[in-house]
């Protein structure tokens, strides 16, 4: 092992678990893929902070923990778990769904409990144009054969490799050509664990030609739970010609959750992928890797990020946008409010390949430090090999404008409320990009809520 890798007991136990997972997998192609991914993971090991990509996100505390690995891909939901999940979802619905205008009017609901799809708790679209199943059930589906494992980059991605080798659950959603879903699908992922647990969900979203859908992902766990839950998730996303996919990931977990998520998308001509990754106080460790491949001409990609961090939380967003063909447009807007002793990282890469003339690629990262000990690392990286492109990036790190706060106070508005107004205003241009009004108001209320007392 080199010094860029960490040694951990978890590494050892995973090796052993892998054999079990592999034996259980009856699908030859997937099995071969797992083996190859495991090879890659073995070679990479867990990254240390000497690895540039992980410089500010120390995973040592995460991999020092031992987790129960859910190796059983045929796991069932127990009666107890179902009851507990029901209660948590009820509270979660109270929290978020009324704002989606009454649950079965504003959004479809797709519930998984510890990765296991619960039909009972879900409310799914009655539309022949959509296929929803577990990833395990999808192996014979043409969409699976076409895209599974072909989107995510394993090279230099230890966690994605580990997920690819050992995933046991996840969702497969395919929207057929010309299907436009009338309401968003809200995916609620319930995580319950009595002991430390590692979950490695693997999703595949396929949006075929001229199809359009909105997906909202949230996850919930039991707030009283002390057990450490590590989620190492990968989602592969394919957008075919003229497909539109609005993908919302609202991250507000409990403290015991540690999350490493990789979303990787491939896009075809005239498609539009818009990703909204909004992270709120809660989860102690969050690493989001978002990679987009603009594989054809005239593609639009939007990456909107908001992170409001508190306590001793770490939130790290890494983005990669690959412009490979002409006339593509990408737009990244990330805004952070960093409170208490929390730490945020933004690392945004834009690659413009030689063929990708007339590319428009923009990137903006603005951060407000809201505590004496709050910290942010922001790093834009642009590599441009075409000569006729428009690319820009801007990074700011600052504090709230004192003169503006004084202005608000001079009109009778108290200090705390003045700051809240300012923070909302700061987040406004990202929040306004949310296309679902109820979700937008939920996000805005959450900002107010989480700002209280700061």
């Amino acid at each position: 092992m080199t010094t860029k890798q960490l040694e951990s007991p978890l590494y050892e136990s995973l090796q052993a678990q892998f054999e079990i997972v592999s034996l259980q997998d009856q699908h030859e192609a997937t099995k071969a893929y797992r083996a190859q991914a495991m090879e890659t993971f073995r070679a990479l090991g867990f990254p240390s902070i000497k690895n540039e990509e992980w410089r500010f996100a120390n995973v040592l505390p995460l991999v020092k923990t031992t987790y129960e690995v859910s190796a059983d891909k045929n796991a069932q939901i127990s009666e107890d778990a179902l009851a507990q999940a029901k209660a948590l979802i009820a509270a979660h619905k109270e929290d978020i769904l009324p704002k989606l205008k009454g649950e079965e009017k504003g959004a479809y609901r797709l519930v998984t409990i510890n990765g296991v799809f619960s039909k009972e708790l879900s409310f799914l679209p009655d539309n022949a144009g959509i296929t929803i199943s577990t990833i395990g059930e999808a192996v014979d589906h043409p969409g699976y054969q076409e895209y599974f494992g072909k989107i995510v980059t394993l090279e230099n991605n230890a966690f994605a490799s580990l997920n690819s080798a050992m995933f046991t659950d996840g969702l497969f959603i395919e929207l057929k050509a010309n299907t436009v879903l009338d309401m968003p699908i809200h995916i609620i992922k319930v995580k319950l664990a009595s002991g430390n647990a590692l979950f490695q969900p693997r999703n595949l979203f396929i949006v075929r030609k001229n199809a359009q859908m909105d997906v909202i992902e949230t996850y919930i766990s039991d707030a009283d739970n002390e057990a450490a839950i590590l989620i190492n998730g990968v989602s592969e996303i394919a957008l075919e010609e003229n497909a539109h996919f609005f993908h919302y990931d609202i991250q507000k977990g409990c403290k015991n959750i540690r999350k490493i998520q990789r979303n990787e998308a491939v896009q075809q001509k005239h498609s539009n992928y818009s990703n909204y990754t909004f992270t709120f106080p809660g989860s102690s460790f969050t690493r989001n890797n978002l990679t987009i491949h603009l594989n054809d001409e005239a593609i639009e990609s939007h990456l909107y990020g908001l992170y409001l961090t508190a306590g001793e939380q770490l939130v790290d967003n890494h983005t990669e946008v690959h412009h490979k063909k002409p006339n593509g447009e990408s737009n990244q807007l990330y805004k952070g409010i960093i409170m208490d002793k929390s730490k945020a990282v933004f690392n945004g890469k834009i690659y413009v390949y030689e063929d990708a003339q007339k590319t428009n690629a923009f990137q903006q990262s603005n951060n407000v430090l809201f505590g004496e000990q709050a910290m942010v690392h922001a790093k834009p990286q642009l590599e441009i090999f075409a000569d006729d492109v428009k690319c820009s990036h801007g990074t700011t790190i600052g504090q709230l404008n004192k003169e503006a706060i004084f202005y608000l106070k001079s009109r009778g508005i108290g200090e705390e409320q003045a700051k809240q107004l300012m923070v909302k205003a700061f987040a406004f241009d990202v929040a306004e990009k949310i296309k679902i009004p109820a979700l937008r108001s939920y996000v805005e209320e959450m900002i107010t809520e989480e700002m209280k007392g700061h």
Partner: protein
């Protein structure tokens, strides 16, 4: 209403106000004129409670209450209003939400119920008409992209909405063309009443043609060196300030 006694204030080590006295009664309009650097805007800042000003001596009371001990928002709730020389742009904060929040904070402080949306809109419409403020601007982000004149007019609109006891207009006339000046002045004249008072800080006599003051004070080197009626402004326009030193 407002009583300033022997006020001394400084910014860092620089003493700016050096024993200023001023009495303002309800129903009165006072103009404060003076050369650059005399401390006019500093007086406005000290009264509104701007952070970097330190009061070293003296007292300021509003209807008998010591305001120097109060935070800026408390002063505002007690009825002090400062129209800024340079109003701040705050993108993302809507003008109307901001005003509603401010108004309800002030009402709560006075023991009144918060206004309903309907009442608020009604009031907002009345005051817009009164001070001739464009409805389109009301719904925009606070001062964002407003012209200099629009910003100043927004200050007067806020003044009309919040109905303070004491309004301090810090060079509200500077940068205004003659039409904007007329509109701003008309607004202020309509808002004058027996129950409120105005302090106009200005460089130019011009403003006082439109808003006629009861008293004109000359501030020089941190003190009021001369007080007179509205005719004093004309004399200053003619002679400058040097003869007063």
């Amino acid at each position: 209403m407002l009583s300033i006694k022997n006020l001394h204030a400084r910014v860092e080590d620089k003493e700016i106000l050096k024993g200023l006295n001023l009495e303002v009664k309800a129903g009165e309009v006072h103009a404060i004129m003076g050369p650059n650097g005399a401390g006019k805007s500093s007086l406005a800042s000290v009264l509104a409670g701007r952070e970097n000003y330190e009061v070293t001596e003296g007292s300021v009371t509003l209807d008998g209450k010591d305001i120097l001990e109060m935070a800026p928002e408390e002063r505002a709730r007690e009825g002090v209003f400062l129209a800024f020389q340079y109003p701040i742009e705050i993108p993302g904060v809507s003008n109307i939400n901001f005003l509603k929040t401010a108004l309800n904070e002030i009402r709560t402080h006075r023991g009144l119920d918060p206004m309903t949306a309907k009442e608020f809109l009604q009031k907002s419409k009345e005051k817009q008409a009164l001070v001739e403020f464009d409805a389109k601007l009301v719904n925009r982000s606070l001062n964002e992209g407003f012209s200099g004149g629009e910003k100043k007019r927004n200050e007067i609109f806020q003044l009309a909405m919040l109905e303070p006891k004491l309004a301090i207009l810090d060079e509200t006339d500077s940068g205004l063309d003659i039409d904007a000046l007329r509109i701003v002045s008309r607004g202020v004249n309509k808002l004058r009443s027996e129950n409120n008072a105005f302090i106009l800080i200005t460089h130019y006599q011009r403003l006082l043609d439109y808003i006629v003051p009861d008293y004109v004070h000359v501030l020089s080197d941190g003190k009021i060196v001369k007080t007179g009626g509205k005719e004093l402004a004309l004399e200053l326009e003619e002679k400058g300030y040097d003869w007063l030193k």
